[in-house]
C-alpha cells in the first residue's frame, strides 16, 4: 500500500509539468470545414474547401507557444453552384492543377479578454501573404469543464484574392473573400 502511494505521488509530480506543456491535437476531418463567402453581383457565392492536414498545438498557459498549420485540398473546393466551382478551381482563380493546396501557418497568437487574434501566413497560388484571423477555442459538446481533450477552433477573417493573383472573374465576383473555418481536434495521447 505504501509503495502504491509512492508510485501515485511520483506520477502526480511528473504529470504536473507535463500538463503545462502545449497540447498536440489531431484533426477530425469529417467534422471540420473551411467555408468561404464572396459576392456575386448582389448575391453571394458560398463554398467549402476540404482540409487535407492540420497540425494544432495549443498552449493554454502561454498562448505564444500555440501553433496552427492547416493544409487545404484546393482540388476538392466546391462552390454553391457548378459554374462557380469550375471558375474557382480554374487557372484564373485557384489554378488547382498547378497549385493543388492552400496552406496557413500561424506565426503568433494574441489573446484578448473575449477573443484571440491568430496571425500567420496564407499561401494561395504559391503566393504567401500575412493574414489575421479572429480565433475562438471551445470545448466540444459532451466534454466536461476543464477537459481539453476534444476542442473546436473557429477562425474568421477576410482575404483579398487579388493579393494572391487570383484575379479571375473580377467583373462578376468580389475581391474580398470571407473565411469561416471550423476545425475540430482531438488531443494526441501518449
Amino acid at each position: 500500500m505504501n509503495l502504491l502511494l509512492r508510485v501515485v505521488s511520483l506520477i502526480a509530480l511528473l504529470s504536473g509539468p507535463l500538463m503545462a506543456e502545449p497540447l498536440h491535437y489531431d484533426l477530425d476531418p469529417t467534422r471540420s470545414r473551411v467555408g468561404f463567402v464572396a459576392t456575386f453581383g448582389s448575391d453571394r457565392i458560398t463554398g467549402t474547401i476540404p482540409i487535407a492536414t492540420a497540425e494544432v498545438q495549443l498552449d493554454f498557459d502561454r498562448a505564444a507557444s500555440s501553433f496552427v498549420r492547416v493544409v487545404l485540398d484546393a482540388t476538392g473546393a466546391r462552390a454553391s453552384f457548378p459554374f462557380a466551382t469550375q471558375a474557382m478551381t480554374g487557372p484564373k482563380v485557384l489554378a488547382v492543377s498547378q497549385f493543388p493546396t492552400l496552406t496557413f501557418e500561424s506565426r503568433s497568437l494574441a489573446v484578448g479578454t473575449t477573443s484571440a487574434t491568430l496571425t500567420g501566413d496564407l499561401t494561395i497560388r504559391g503566393v504567401t501573404r500575412p493574414v489575421m484571423l479572429e480565433a475562438q477555442v471551445f470545448r466540444q459538446r459532451g466534454t466536461q469543464a476543464g477537459d481539453r481533450s476534444r476542442m473546436s477552433v473557429r477562425l474568421n477573417g477576410t482575404v483579398r484574392r487579388s493579393e494572391f493573383g487570383a484575379t479571375g472573374w473580377a467583373d462578376m465576383v468580389g475581391d474580398v473573400v470571407e473565411l469561416d473555418i471550423l476545425v475540430r481536434i482531438d488531443q494526441i495521447r501518449g
Partner: protein, 180 residues
C-alpha cells in the same frame, strides 16, 4: 408546296430555315449584347446557358442549311439588279454564311478557354475546342463581339436591300415565288 428549291423559287425547307434562323440570330444579337453588360446574379445564370444552347443550335442549323443548299441549290438572284448590286448582294450572302459559322464557333472557343463547361440544354457538355487560357479567352470574346457587330451590320444591309428592291425578292422568300 415544294420542299426543294427550283429555278423559279425557294422550297419551304429553305424558307423555313431562313426565317427561323433570321429570328433566332436577331434575338441572339440582342441577347448577347444584354448579357455582355448584365449585372451578374444567381437567378440570371441560366441566361449564359441559354445563349450557348441557342448559339450551338444555330451552328448546327447553319451547317444543315449549307448541306441542304448543296443538295437542293437555291435559285439565282432576280436578274434586274445592277452589277454592283448583284456583287454586294452576293458578298452579303457569303458573309452571312461565314458569320453564321464563325460567330458560334468563336463563342465556343472563348467558352472553352474559360475552363468552364459549355453546357447545352442544361444537360449536355460540349467538348472544349480551345486550351484553357486567358489569352485564348480574351481574344475569343473580342472576336465573338466583333463578329456579332458585323453580323448586325449585315442584317441591316440585307433588310434594307430586301425592302429597297421591290422586285419580288422578299415575296420569293416569304411565299416561294415572285408572284402568287
Amino acid at each position: 408546296m415544294a420542299a426543294y428549291n427550283n429555278d423559279a423559287g425557294f422550297g419551304w425547307v429553305t424558307r423555313g430555315l431562313h426565317w427561323l434562323m433570321a429570328l433566332a440570330l436577331i434575338a441572339m444579337l440582342v441577347f448577347g449584347t444584354y448579357l455582355a453588360g448584365m449585372e451578374p446574379a444567381l437567378d440570371r445564370l441560366w441566361m449564359y446557358g441559354a445563349h450557348k444552347t441557342v448559339g450551338f443550335t444555330l451552328l448546327v442549323l447553319s451547317m444543315l442549311r449549307i448541306g441542304w443548299h448543296a443538295w437542293s441549290p437555291p435559285p439565282g438572284p432576280i436578274p434586274d439588279l445592277a452589277v454592283w448590286q448583284l456583287r454586294l448582294s452576293r458578298a452579303v450572302q457569303r458573309s452571312f454564311y461565314a458569320l453564321m459559322l464563325a460567330l458560334p464557333l468563336s463563342g465556343w472557343v472563348a467558352s472553352s478557354a474559360t475552363g468552364i463547361d459549355t453546357v447545352l440544354f442544361n444537360r449536355w457538355v460540349l467538348p472544349p475546342i480551345a486550351p484553357v487560357s486567358e489569352q485564348w479567352e480574351s481574344v475569343g470574346f473580342i472576336v465573338h463581339g466583333a463578329l456579332g457587330k458585323l453580323l448586325a451590320l449585315l442584317v441591316i444591309v440585307h433588310v434594307v436591300g430586301a425592302f429597297w428592291h421591290r422586285n419580288g425578292t422578299l415575296r420569293r422568300m416569304l411565299f416561294g415565288h415572285r408572284k402568287l
